[in-house]
Symmetry: C2
Subunit: 492 residues, 2 copies
């Protein structure tokens, strides 16, 4: 098959867009900015969901579901929040269509106007805190540890499949606590859960950190985040966890009576990851031949391609591979036998390479004679002949572990090569220009400096590293004193 995707070195952005489409991950829909997630792409997202959901439940959370619509007035109740979301939201104003009198199909029925407009949720803090008001009276009702898997809509003007779409799928956790410290601990815990997921399952190393004030979530006191680095040297925010203080409790009057009988506002957090993780997964590992998927998230871990002439040879190979397929499946390996007679082996090789299947097994007439098969790994392209008198299950299990680890280490090495400490603005600009990546620099802590650097270089403060050490220095831009470095990067 002709893959029809450009090289990363030629046009990284086009490479990404074409790869997403050609590998059957997603495509644009007729609705501006909304995507169709195709079955193969969705099956990767499902695997992500399953792991994340398991991690949430292991940390004591349960799922629930809240309305898609938010009354317009709710948005205004938290001042920063409305500032952050009012400018890009889908507004429902009517609840009925009627036949056009001129015969032009259906039109909005002006008599079916809503008394108050409804906003399609861009995030659900407002409607959820309004609900929590009725759930909380005493400290006994706390904590509330709830998560929701949902679709949300933000009317972005410039969209890209998975990375920035008007509608996207995500989970949003919303928790309520009796004490400030408990809420902060929860926010940090969820940042750690996200980091663990990214590193162990996506094989994407991430920096854990705190956002600067101007990058903070609208309505949060502190935003914790995980930041990943893509192969073009740009950073990608892969998940955020917000300590909300008492902001939403105050906006929606959510109070509780403590053990000591005192009334106080509840402390809150919210945290989310979205289908954006799909973009991170694709951009972190894939190459000019197509997707490279970490085995832990690959819907198909092993594909078997028979090489044959005629039905008889095919049947012999089928019989042979069916001797070991059950053992692989029993070991938890997902295996696909691609015995389509409509496509040639070369086409199949290219297709599964494009789709990022970690391990390809090929078996032809000579393998049948020798009781062997060919094992090819997607990430390195290495091939070897395997003698089937040895333990294939152990071989494959070892290989999958090795691939998972290997692509993670490759990403770690890339990030190490693309993280640079600089001490002057010239150096800063030079690094951004020449190789990109994370640039660690002193900053005077002001939003003005942050904004000027962004205007001049397009680099933003991705985060203040969670373990940033105290270090005397001067801001690379203003020359004012600074007590620690922050991480800058151009970002998605």
């Amino acid at each position: 098959m002709s893959k029809g995707i450009p090289k990363r070195s030629e046009d990284y952005s086009l490479w990404y867009n074409e790869l997403v489409k050609k590998a059957d991950l997603a495509e644009n829909s007729p609705v501006r900015g909304c995507m169709v997630i195709k079955p193969y792409g969705f099956s990767i997202w499902e695997k992500m969901q399953a792991e994340i959901d398991r991690m949430f439940k292991e940390t004591g959370h349960t799922n629930a579901y809240f309305p898609l619509f938010i009354p317009k007035s709710y948005l205004s109740k938290e001042a920063d929040h409305v500032e952050g979301f009012a400018k890009e939201c889908a507004v429902v104003t009517h609840y009925r269509l009627k036949n056009d009198e001129n015969g032009n199909g259906v039109v909005v029925d002006p008599e079916a106007k809503l008394e108050e407009e409804l906003i399609v949720r861009p995030t659900s803090e407002t409607v959820i805190w309004n609900t929590y008001k009725n759930w909380v009276q005493s400290y006994r009702d706390l904590p509330i540890l709830v998560n929701q898997w949902a679709n949300v809509v933000r009317w972005e003007m410039r969209t890209r499949l998975f990375l920035r779409t008007a509608e996207f799928l995500w989970q949003e956790g919303h928790t309520a606590h009796a004490t400030k410290q408990e809420a902060i601990d929860e926010s940090v815990q969820m940042m750690n859960v996200y980091a663990q997921f990214a590193e162990e399952f996506m094989a994407v190393p991430v920096i854990k950190g705190i956002k600067s004030e101007s990058e903070r979530f609208a309505g949060a006191v502190e935003t914790y985040c995980i930041e990943a680095l893509m192969q073009d040297g740009k950073a990608l925010q892969a998940g955020t966890s917000h300590f909300l203080g008492q902001n939403f409790a105050k906006a929606f009057d959510v109070k509780f009576t403590s053990k000591e009988g005192k009334q106080d506002f509840v402390w809150g957090t919210s945290w989310g990851v979205s289908t954006r993780l799909m973009g991170a997964l694709i951009m972190a590992h894939s190459d000019d031949q197509g997707l490279v998927l970490p085995p832990k998230l690959a819907p198909i871990q092993v594909v078997i391609v028979p090489i044959y002439k005629g039905e008889e040879q095919l049947n012999a190979i089928r019989d042979k591979v069916n001797e070991f397929i059950p053992a692989l499946r029993k070991a938890g390996v997902s295996v696909k036998l691609d015995d389509r007679d409509t496509h040639k082996p070369g086409f199949k090789f290219a297709e599964w390479e494009l789709k990022g299947v970690p391990v390809r097994l090929a078996m032809g007439p000579r393998d049948m004679e020798n009781n062997t098969l060919e094992i090819a790994r997607r990430d390195t392209g290495e091939k070897e002949t395997f003698d089937l008198s040895n333990d294939l299950v152990a071989k494959i299990e070892g290989l999958l572990t090795d691939i998972q680890d290997s692509i993670y280490q490759k990403a770690v090495a890339y990030r190490a090569e693309h993280t640079t400490e600089v001490n002057s603005y010239e150096e800063f600009k030079e690094v951004l220009e020449s190789k990109g990546g994370f640039v660690s620099a002193h900053w005077d802590g002001t939003a003005e400096t942050e904004e000027q650097i962004k205007d001049e270089t397009k680099a933003t403060i991705r985060c203040i590293h969670i373990d940033a050490k105290e270090e005397e220095g001067v801001c690379i831009y203003s020359g004012k004193p600074s007590s620690r470095r922050v991480l800058f990067a151009k970002a998605y």
Copy 2:
């Protein structure tokens, strides 16, 4: 605890509403007609989803995701479809809010008006068939066997938690086939999958049948359905599967080239079940004490309540039950130890009864002395003392199987008692009035008769039984000849 729910015999409708709220399943939200599904209710829905999703995958389907919004013009492309949905849809007309000049929070920005209004999907045939147009060229691209888990919105004027809500959660399968027969077979297969799920997991017996023309899905050639009977003698449509013919393929110009090189329109199906199943589950089994959950869908299958005075006794019971809890969990039984010190055993008994936990184990000081515990089953209220020197895991496993079967048999018996053959309109009305349930009667096959019967009695044709036998008779209403009976009932 005071349950605060009325008896079914006093006010069935209020009993249902209060039970849904008091058992922490769902509640109304501030958005008209939209519900909040609370954690306990959602955990039951999750169990349903998991089983249904597994059954879909076992029958060859994969999940995908399509946009929330549908361009207004798409709805009009299939004539019946737009008739069915235009009158109750949420319409997005703008994409931005702005600050009100008079300081009244935010208002819709008139400058951010969409060129074409977007409908929040009431169902996704249109946007999906528009997508399939690009996925299908040849018979090799068929069949497409895709399902989507999603939220949909239908602006219902009279809503009830789970049964009829403006927004609800559902799955919608959308398949495309090369032949008419294959599409019909798919529709029938999915009706059977739904029936199997309802009976094996929900313990709700269902009638499989075909809808009359006036009850058919807007845009379908044939609608297959499963119909269940609630404890108040009203029927509830629990799932539908539609054979769409080539209607949507023609509306969206979806053609394929056959093996023989001929062009033809693709054949389609769609099928769905929703959070309405929660309503069916609740109303089919629950009693005046609260929920009765079938063990296969109960989030907690066994609850253990210690009866103690003081910390020392509690610790002794804790140690004792922790000897057998791991074995139960290992056997796949979900167990909760309710050792809260904030509530008395009587309160806990009532709470878990209300929440429908199938098996309650209680252990007090005398049990400790005798090495016994008390086992109570929720469905019958039967209690027994169990000697812990016997095999508790086997006992519990047997009990759960028995409860699952028993509540199913109870529902089967109820339905048998409430299914009546009648041969005159007087008898028909009398049965509906006195005991309700399914009424099997001859009908002349016309929409006029169907509508007049509905107007006069509120009973509708639920379905024509899939195995309905030919039987000469006369329509109970018009006296015209009829060749088979159909099932009438008042319905949710």
